[in-house]
């Protein structure tokens, strides 16, 4: 419940419903009766953060523990931020309205690099010192997790401890340890030292880094008994893993305003640019029965009439048709529609199409990622042009008339011909439409071609690759534009400036913390939003700090170099990534996990797809 001072500001800002809490299913506890208060912070707006599944899972899980009260905190939009500063109102949590400085834990989920400044800004708005070293007491422990925690170094000075991998177990273990440490009167330093012994916990202050003269890392040494390698945590049995039967139902419309049902974690494919495809290995599925009952409970408890099946590649769910049969046995009656995002080009069959069509016809989106076959082999996309055309023909015959195609430019080994093939592929889809005999009568086709700029990410076979410079990316964008002749094709591209900053942060090291701190002092926020982002201002900061951003973004790294994230273990070995990188140079594809095991290293967890029977093999 927000206070009177806040209420007085609410009518001056856009969408005040974002700042008041009070939603159906939000958890209210008596703060005098809980031992531990956790402020779960999403470093972006309410609409974005409330759409995030990981937060929903952990919010429900934490609150299922009697002694913990977990509340939600989002970044206020710029108008609200201004009012809060003007009136001296610190950043508060939505459930209690209490400032985040009242909380034992302040946790951030790091979903994308461009939200780092929001994270620091939120601490600042909450009146919490941004640097870990300046928070000396055993309170306001700042923790972070999520995919960007796989390279924690650019924010290492600010975070007390990182959760590496999936949080369902390790987060609770750390909170339990905190409770014990506080009861025993231990110091923050002692608590951090002890927590470093929990698997999946990384305490950056317990490591010393030295650099070579050329700027690369010379050594990375643990101290005070911290482990040399930090292993990720993961949930082995998805059917037994916690899943909420209830979501907080927002009062205002959010980005993904529907129930979300996770169907599996990980991805069998191994597309070489995709970080998620490697860090969440191995693939672990939920059974159709589990999904079906969780899904039904969720719809009943929230009142949502739409449920989205969530995974990295829904058509790769091994029992997709039986699952859809189970779900459609009640969704029609209960007037619930199912949406199936993240469909692969080769996974859109008649059978799936008919099942989706019975409920709701949404737009179709496919991600061929590259225009030419050679390029798709380099990135291991394993999709052929004829497959895409067959899929589109199926969709067109089924009445669809709009298709969105996602591509990347700036991929390793890419030539201008590969880039032009993006436009050609779009044209081929248009041609396919007019060749499809039973297409929608009297309607025109619309093909949207979107090109984002490739950002090399840690824990992928391309982690050593340079990113194309901004001028080269601009040239490639222009080349696609020039190669499109049809008016049926709409071309969008992603701003290269933001991709450049993303590349700097993604593979940065601890020396970037200085720049982050300065950015925070200067009030940077919402770097992921075009209205706030300025590369120019960032370049000024890098310059003042003596940092060369090209060193991180545009430099080809040697296979022997110590990478800033080498001390973190996600199961996939460096030698496997190196082998995959070399195969990419030779345009060699690698079969997916269900066809053949390629020995990535994830089998060591003893679960998931690595131990499935491969029916396709003779």
């Amino acid at each position: 419940m927000v206070g009177k001072e806040v209420e007085r500001l609410l009518l001056k800002v856009q969408k005040p419903g974002r700042y008041v809490g009070g939603e159906l299913n939000s958890v209210i506890k008596d703060k005098r009766k809980v031992d531990l208060r956790f402020a779960f912070c999403f470093p972006d707006t309410y609409e974005v953060g409330m759409s995030h599944l990981g937060m929903k899972i952990l919010y429900s899980l934490f609150n299922s523990v009697e002694y913990i009260w977990c509340e939600r905190v989002f970044a206020p939009w710029v108008d609200m931020e201004e009012e809060m500063i003007k009136h001296g109102i610190p950043l508060y949590a939505l459930e209690s309205g209490d400032p985040i400085s009242d909380f034992d834990f302040i946790g951030f989920t790091l979903q994308y690099e461009l939200s780092y400044t929001n994270m620091l800004n939120m601490l600042k708005l909450g009146g919490v010192p941004v640097k870990s070293a300046d928070r000396t007491e055993l309170k306001n422990i700042v923790v972070a997790g999520g995919p960007c925690a796989c390279n924690p170094e650019p924010v290492a000075d600010f975070i007390d401890l990182f959760f590496i991998g999936e949080g369902e177990e390790v987060d609770l273990e750390v909170m339990e340890l905190f409770r014990k440490c506080r009861a025993e009167g231990k110091s923050k330093a002692e608590f951090l030292r002890l927590s470093a012994n929990i698997e999946g916990v990384y305490v950056p202050s317990l490591y010393d880094v030295e650099y070579n003269e050329d700027g690369t890392i010379k050594s990375f040494v643990p101290k005070d008994g911290a482990p040399a390698v930090i292993r990720k945590r993961l949930m082995k049995k998805m059917d037994e893993s916690f899943y909420p039967d209830n979501f907080v139902v927002p009062l205002v419309e959010i980005v993904h305003d529907r129930a979300v049902q996770e169907i599996f974690r990980g991805c069998i494919r191994g597309c070489r640019f995709c970080q998620a495809g490697f860090i969440y290995r191995p693939v672990r599925e939920k059974s159709p029965d589990t999904i079906n009952s969780q899904c039904r409970a969720l719809c009943q408890n929230t009142g949502y009439d739409e449920v989205s099946l969530s995974s990295l590649s829904s058509s790769d769910y091994s029992r997709i048709v039986p699952l859809l049969e189970k779900l459609t046995s009640w969704t029609g009656e209960e007037k619930v529609s199912i949406s199936l995002p993240s469909l692969r080009v080769d996974g859109f069959t008649d059978e799936i199409m008919n099942k989706i069509k019975t409920v709701r016809k949404s737009g179709l989106t496919f991600a061929p990622e590259a225009g030419s076959q050679r390029m798709r082999d380099v990135i291991n996309k394993n999709v052929r042009q004829d497959e895409l055309m067959n899929t589109c023909a199926t969709a067109f015959a089924g009445g669809w008339t709009t298709v969105k195609l996602y591509f990347m430019i700036g991929l390793p080994t890419e030539t201008m011909d590969d880039v032009a093939d993006i436009a050609n592929l779009g044209q081929a889809v248009v041609d396919t439409y007019y060749r499809t005999p039973n297409r929608a009568k009297g309607k025109s086709v619309r093909v949207t071609v979107s090109a984002s700029s490739f950002v090399p990410k840690p824990f992928t076979p391309f982690q050593w690759e340079p990113q194309d410079t901004i001028p080269v990316l601009h040239e490639k964008q222009q080349h696609i534009k020039d190669s499109i002749t049809s008016k049926k094709i709409q071309f969008n591209y992603h701003d290269a400036d933001t991709s450049y900053l993303e590349a700097v942060f993604a593979r940065g090291d601890r020396r970037l913390c200085k720049a982050m701190e300065l950015a925070c002092e200067r009030g940077f926020h919402f770097d992921g939003w075009n209205d706030c982002f300025s590369l120019e201002k960032w370049l000024e900061i890098f310059d003042e700090c003596g940092i060369d951003p090209a060193f991180y973004a545009n430099r080809r790294r040697s296979f022997d170099e110590i990478l800033p994230w080498d001390h973190i273990d996600y199961g996939v070995t460096k030698s496997f990534l190196k082998k995959e990188c070399e195969r990419a140079y030779n345009s060699q594809t690698t079969p997916h996990c269900r066809l053949k095991c390629s020995g990535c290293g994830a089998a060591k967890y003893g679960e998931g797809v690595c131990f499935e029977k491969r029916e396709n093999l003779v």
Partner: protein, 219 residues
């Protein structure tokens, strides 16, 4: 099939949601409650609900209503109240269900309580400013519409009113014309006051009741 009118209060956190968001919240609650409501029969069937008079974002509503079609004529009204309240956020409370006596289009007036305050202005001053403004023969305002800016006189839309000085605010109770034509939003009075006094007061606005053209309570 029976037309019923569901009466509710919109307050606390839910004061800050727009009419569109209220609509979405209500539809979701109706869906969750499983009350046998008539659904639209299009491609995406959803419960059908209409609101006789939308409430502006930021206003409290103590006697708000929404019309639905009940598929079971004998379905208990008490059941609707209790089931819906279980499915709604705490800021929206259903307190009555009645038959829809008057047609939605019959709404002609609405009564409001407006409480104005400012840390640097005594309530008495605000009261005097209000009295002065409202006693003018006409109150003209620039109103933005799709066709551009036009000047409107809101005075004809003001029926009776009273101004009262409270300990920490100035209270205006006012009856304004409402409905699809000649609707006067009380925020226009705040705007006019700002134009006249040069101060933006904090306004806590509550809509109390709706009336038909004969000044009978809307039922």
């Amino acid at each position: 099939m029976k037309n019923v009118r569901i009466w509710f209060k919109k307050d606390y956190e839910c004061r800050y949601i727009s009419h569109l968001d209220l609509n979405r919240t209500m539809l979701r609650a109706l869906h969750k409650s499983r009350i046998p409501i008539w659904h639209t029969e299009g491609f995406n069937p959803h419960p059908f609900a209409t609101f006789p008079l939308p409430l502006s974002l930021g206003f409290r509503g103590v006697n708000e209503c929404m019309d639905v079609k009940l598929e079971q004529d004998d379905y208990s009204f008490e059941e609707i109240i209790s089931k819906l309240n279980e499915c709604l956020p705490r800021g929206i409370r259903v307190f009555d269900v009645t038959e829809a006596v008057m047609k939605a289009g019959k709404v002609a007036y609405a009564s409001f309580t407006v409480r104005l305050s400012d840390p640097n202005t005594p309530s008495k001053t605000i009261c005097l400013q209000l009295e002065e403004l409202l006693s003018q023969p006409s109150i003209e305002l620039q109103k933005k519409s799709k066709k551009g800016i036009k000047t409107v006189d809101i005075k004809p839309g003001i029926r009776e009113y009273s101004v009262k000085e409270n300990f920490d605010d100035a209270q205006l109770d006012i009856m304004l014309s409402a409905g699809s034509s000649n609707n006067v939003n009380p925020s226009l009075i705040i705007d006019a006051l700002r134009n006249a006094a040069g101060v933006e007061y904090y306004a806590d606005i509550t809509r109390n009741d709706l009336f038909n053209s004969d000044m009978e309570p809307f039922r």
